[in-house]
Symmetry: C2
Subunit: 117 residues, 2 copies
């Protein structure tokens, strides 16, 4: 990698770390981690999500019971204000990162055409 | 997105576009496009790859015949010097992009731990 690309990547890393979106995410992540019951709810929700995703990606059937379990876990986390804020912060940072990627990867899109076309 | 993140992303886009790895890729991509037989071989190879990937992702069976067809197409493209250079250039740019992403996304890794752990 050229020195220029390397340096700019580190500048972007620093800017991301200093962004409101990242700082919010860290703050809400800490708040959930420090709250035992929120942390347990959130960990359970994430575990279920990861398990279903892995099943889906490997082409395994997902049972009606598993879907209901996931819906129940999702409803529970949405009722917890700390987790709701964390998930909102995650979504906001995801949007920033998607925007960054879109800008940075534009030269590849120009070469190959838009993804999925 | 903050002005800083936005500006740095555009600077990185520009640096990527001006990198040797991207310029090489564009040059080899043009060379293949302009060579009718190379272009046909390469398009066929990519079509087979995309089809198999889609089958795999949707959990469909891939037949023995399809595997053999893909291997044959891969052997053919590797024998074509223009395509071999294009594929090498793609790999080199992919490595640059993976390195960029690793640097930029470090703050997220620090928060969640390394991917897949
Ligand atoms: Ca700079
Ligand atoms: Ca700048």
């Amino acid at each position: 990698m050229s020195v220029n690309l390397h340096d700019l990547s580190y500048e972007l890393q620093k800017a991301l770390r200093e962004s409101d979106e990242y700082k919010n995410l860290v703050a809400y992540y800490d708040a959930v981690n420090k709250d035992e019951s929120a942390n347990q709810l959130f960990t359970n929700f994430r575990d279920i999500q990861v398990r279903l995703q892995q099943k889906q990606m490997s082409g395994q059937e997902i049972s009606q019971e598993e879907v209901q379990q996931a819906q129940k876990a999702a409803a529970l986390v949405q009722q917890n204000p700390k987790i709701a804020k964390l998930m909102q912060a995650e979504q906001q940072l995801s949007m920033v990162i998607a925007d960054l990627n879109k800008i940075i990867m534009k030269p590849l899109e120009e070469l190959y055409g838009p993804m999925g076309s």
